[in-house]
């Protein structure tokens, strides 16, 4: 049989502000790592190699949130060079934990508390935002960090020119697959119903409540979760904070609406 020869896709993996966990997870694909490097033309991957090129790309995988002027510039440049941009991890998707200061004044106040009035000479800070605040994002691969299986399947599909297929349901579905007891029924504050699946309901498998680290699932019924936890006796601020810990801009609208609610 004649082999079909095809040019390898040019891929760049970029890290903005975050814990670098998504890039690290790609390195953690130990057995598949060499295959990944063989199957695609990895043009740039700072964490893994030093001969990086900033040229035209088929796909850019971007981790982290935009937190400095320099990163904003870099991101705009990546968008210009890449045909497809994929946001990987919740920092890129929703701004991550560092986007919990949604209010600009709040952020400025806290920045001053840490760094004082110092004038930065290398690059100016900006309030942390997900990458879709500045550029068009083609696909989102959430997670904190991303899941290995989901990453490999996404990567595979992209290599073949197909759009990735991700879970569009909450953690509760996976939790049922794993036949766990519902922690909410036991009065433990679990964010499974509003959090995007993909982790394999790992915390509940360990008898621990979901902390919401994958960010909100599309069409999550945030109001219902909120009232459920209220019924279980948790206070307004506690629930609000818990839901906001990892969600960044993902639940900003909801929090805005909550202002009208009574405490």
């Amino acid at each position: 049989m004649e082999k079909v020869k095809k040019d390898k896709l040019k891929i760049g993996i970029y890290e903005l502000t975050g814990c670098a966990g998504d890039a690290l997870l790609i390195l953690d694909c130990e057995k598949e790592l060499i295959d990944i490097f063989k199957a695609a033309d990895i043009q740039s991957f700072l964490m893994a190699k030093s001969d990086n090129i900033d040229g035209e790309l088929d796909v850019a995988l971007v981790e982290g949130s935009v937190s400095t002027e320099r990163e904003k510039k870099e991101l705009l440049d990546i968008r210009k060079r890449a045909k497809t941009v994929v946001a990987i991890g919740i920092c890129a998707c929703f701004g991550g934990i560092q986007a919990a200061f949604l209010d600009k004044k709040d952020w400025e106040k806290n920045f001053k508390k840490v760094y004082g009035n110092i004038k930065m000479t290398h690059t100016n800070p900006i309030q942390s935002k997900p990458i879709n605040s500045y550029i068009k994002v083609d696909y989102y691969l959430p997670g904190c960090p991303i899941d290995k299986e989901q990453f490999l399947s996404t990567f595979n599909r992209i290599l073949r020119g197909n759009p990735p297929e991700l879970y569009r349901f909450p953690v509760c579905v996976e939790c049922k697959w794993n036949e766990n007891d519902c922690l909410l029924n036991k009065g433990i504050p679990c964010l499974g119903p509003i959090t995007r699946a993909g982790c394999g309901s790992i915390c509940i498998n360990h008898n621990l409540p979901c902390v919401g680290c994958w960010g909100p699932v599309e069409e999550a019924n945030l109001t219902s979760e909120f009232h459920l936890l209220r019924e279980k006796g948790f206070d307004y601020d506690f629930i609000k904070k818990k839901m906001a810990n990892f969600s960044g801009t993902g639940i900003a609208d909801f929090l805005g609406k909550l202002k009208g609610e009574e405490k």
């Binding site: 670098a20 200061f101 806290n110 004038k119 810990n245």
Partner: protein, 579 residues
């Protein structure tokens, strides 16, 4: 002025850069910058419950996520006086060893080794070191497997909680880990030999202070309740601030740290230097075989130290598992306290990690987190400076960039927790006579002779001062006299200060150079004893008005006389000043 820089440090975790500024023959500045944006993680934890804090803080860094979790748990448990059962302690130690194995093998094989064998990355290196790359991957995977077993997943697992674990592994799982650990030992022994026998360049070499946790009962290990320094001092964990003294710098979002005004180092090398004598078994044999005095002053040996620690981890795992197998799975220890203050210290793979909290009314009210890379930032800059300056002397300017890259990488920096890495910039090689005329415009200079007369050309400073004095020049002092001259320090503050000294620029012997003191201030390789003498006496404003008139020595051997070319320069300078 010229700037050599590594804008994006590759093969390090996170986003950093390093730059050196070169002025003529002098490296004037080295800056390790963290481009990683500010995340304000400490502020994010304020108002959160202790449990939420423990969820959030590991997100500072993926590579050290277990260490962050561990330090936070220890701090919170100290705050609430929670005592965990032995099985919890052993399981935590196991998960921590998993992280050490994973992080160290990733660093030495994938990030560091390509530099020493001439490949741009580990995948390319696989063409020549196929077996090593594959087994190293398996070793790293094994570390990951332990972390996954203990914490729930590779990165940011939530199984470890305040008071214990959500779930313990099965006996079968533990036995599998134990047998796998034993299988790896032969390869790990090879790894230690490989990294201890690498040809580490001797540039840079310089002493520093090393700090790490002091494990209890004279053991080697990665936790403790006090910090031990290479000076022999110990510091209680609650007093960690007397070690770290953090301050903000304008070129980095990572804070810097200094101990008694001086940079210090943390990490595997610090641990082996401070605690190496406590190693046992094969690790002890390897330590005795390879440890040398160079480990105490060359940061590149951090790679060797990490290899040695991988061996320690593999020998320790079967022992821990034997203990775990004998103990029942304890439930999570509950606590009722809503107030408290606590500090927890652990060794992250790249060094001492400190978490300190205050909790009031059940919510976190104060958080202080000090990461290893932030503590190493000052020494990273200093060693890069030394390396850059030495290479510049040798005329190897083109090697500076790569060498700085090598030095930074050896520290295994974890930039998420902090910082970016390497640039170089240059001083104009100005004519010393013109420069002296400029200085005189600012005021009549005070001259100070520095050096040792019995060391050949090192005596040039003293000799020149004495000659000047003999010829009736005004304010001229010797190093030995000036220390006591309080009045001079007070009155002299508005006049320029010019030191005479032998300064090694790798120029032709007798070459005269006049440079601002701060150019050579932080590099003691250049001007030996000037540093301690000056630093106690003058403040920064005055430093800007101080200069060194340096003469290139031919030799500084003890017992020899001043060489001919240097003697001629003395006459030249003398004539010019007296004119």
């Amino acid at each position: 002025m010229k700037k050599i820089s590594v804008e994006h440090l590759a093969r390090v975790e996170g986003n950093g850069g390093i730059s050196a500024t070169i002025d003529g023959k002098v490296v004037t500045d080295v800056k390790f910058s963290v481009y990683e944006g500010p995340r304000l993680v400490e502020r994010l934890t304020i108002g959160k419950t202790p449990e939420e804090d423990v969820n959030i803080v590991p997100r500072i860094c993926a590579i050290c996520s277990i260490s962050h979790k561990y330090a936070a748990l220890r701090a919170m448990e100290n705050a609430f006086s929670v005592k965990v059962p032995p099985k919890v302690s052993f399981f935590r130690e196991l998960m921590h060893l998993g992280e050490m194995i994973e992080s160290h093998s990733l660093h030495i094989y994938y990030l560091a080794l390509p530099d020493y064998v001439g490949f741009p990355n580990a995948i390319a290196m696989a063409s020549k070191f196929d077996l090593e790359v594959k087994i190293a991957l398996e070793m790293k995977e094994f570390g990951n497997h332990i972390m996954k077993t203990a914490s729930g997943r590779y990165i940011h697992g939530e199984n470890p909680v305040i008071g214990g674990f959500g779930k313990f592994p099965s006996k079968e799982e533990l036995i599998w880990i134990k047998s796998r650990a034993i299988q790896f030992v032969p390869f790990v022994l090879k790894t230690v030999s490989l990294f201890c026998e690498l040809d580490y360049p001797n540039c840079p070499e310089k002493n520093t202070v090393y700090a790490c946790c002091n494990p209890a009962q004279n053991n080697y290990g990665f936790t403790g309740d006090e910090i031990i320094l290479s000076t022999g001092e110990t510091i209680n964990k609650e007093d960690y601030k007397s070690l770290t003294n953090e301050f903000v710098v304008s070129h980095s979002y990572a804070k810097h740290s200094r101990y008694r005004g001086k940079p210090y180092s943390v990490g595997a090398l610090a641990r082996v230097n401070n605690l190496g004598d406590r190693l046992r078994g094969e690790a002890r044999k390897m330590y005795q075989k390879y440890f040398s005095r160079r480990w105490k002053k060359n940061p590149l040996f951090n790679n060797a130290a990490q290899a040695l620690e991988i061996l320690y981890a593999f020998e320790r795992i079967p022992k821990i598992i034997d203990k775990m197998l004998k103990l029942p799975d304890p439930p999570i220890v509950k606590y009722t306290k809503k107030e408290g203050k606590g500090t927890g210290i652990v060794e992250a793979p790249r060094g001492l990690l400190i978490h300190s909290y205050e909790v009031s009314d059940g919510l976190v009210s104060h958080t202080d987190i000090i990461t290893p890379t932030a503590q190493n930032a000052e020494d990273i800059e200093r060693y890069c400076y030394i390396a850059a300056q030495k290479l510049l002397y040798r005329g190897d300017e083109d090697k500076i960039r790569d060498r700085m890259d090598l030095v930074v990488r050896a520290f295994d920096p974890c930039i998420s927790c902090s910082a970016h890495m390497a640039e170089i910039k240059k001083a104009p090689a100005e004519n010393w006579k013109t420069k002296l005329a400029e200085i005189k415009k600012k005021g009549s200079p005070i001259f100070v002779g520095v050096g040792k007369r019995n060391r050949s050309d090192d005596g040039v400073g003293i000799e020149l001062a004495l000659e000047l004095r003999k010829h009736g020049a005004g304010d001229v002092w010797l190093e030995s006299e000036i220390e006591e001259k309080e009045t001079l320090w007070k009155n002299g503050l508005h006049r320029p200060l010019v030191f005479f000294d032998a300064v090694d620029f790798r120029e032709k012997p007798g070459k005269v150079t006049l440079l601002p003191l701060h150019y050579i201030f932080s590099n003691s390789a250049l001007s030996h004893r000037l540093l301690p003498f000056i630093s106690g006496k003058i403040n920064y404003d005055y430093l800007k008005n101080s200069y060194v008139l340096g003469i290139q020595p031919e030799s500084i051997e003890e017992g020899k006389k001043i060489s001919r070319p240097v003697r001629q320069s003395i006459v030249k300078v003398l004539d010019h000043i007296m004119k």
